[in-house]
Symmetry: C2
Subunit: 107 residues, 2 copies
Amino acid sequence: MARESLGGQLDLLLLSALRAEPAHGYAVIEEVRRRSEQAFDLPESSVYPALHRLEQAGMLDSEWAEVSGRRRRVYRLTSKGRSALGKRRGEWLRLRRGIGAALGEAN
Amino acid sequence: MARESLGGQLDLLLLSALRAEPAHGYAVIEEVRRRSEQAFDLPESSVYPALHRLEQAGMLDSEWAEVSGRRRRVYRLTSKGRSALGKRRGEWLRLRRGIGAALGEAN
DNA sequence: CTTGATACCTCGGAAGCCGAGGTATAGGAT
DNA sequence: ATCCTATACCTCGGCTTCCGAGGTATCAAG
């Protein structure tokens, strides 16, 4: 059931949501929902593993925070993550252009 | 190694390449390459199974043809395929819009 | 007779996504 | 007191997608 509504752009969305400031997972989900104008309501079971993966890959780092009795893991974009974001963005734009051309649109 | 350069839009590209007229697999690959302005050079090992899958799903049908000693399987878009193309296209546009919004572009 | 283009195919596995299910706290309603 | 909803984290299991590697065969050119 791979990649469905998202077209493999999950990492791009997550990195992009963390671009301006650090946030915890749940907040990232809301941020993406807000920014995408309700287009994407990411399931937690996609997001949490993805955040772990991105941290593993050195694009994010995290620390625990305690806010009114609830624990949160707050993620921050690393410099590696920032450059990965640029790269992913470029790939997205190329994809966009390629598909546009293939569909015969005026891009 | 799922979905990489293509962002899960393989079906869209294939259906779209067959939109105007029937073609055989190898020709579809060239057509996509041409239309996408060299952006996509689809590997045969992606395309042939995908064509089988689309036929299985009733979006394409095919027949064998013999052209100067070489056998070709020529695929044609079915009416179901045509409506699937429209649907995929719509999904692509929504994705495009959603990502654009999330990235904070002027679409 | 070898090379390159054309033309088809399958196998196996990596990677990606997410439904289902689980844990826990806080706050408001019943 | 109890329940519900929102917040907040997590894993497991499995379907799907894509594609490198490898295989078969014909034809034309060198």
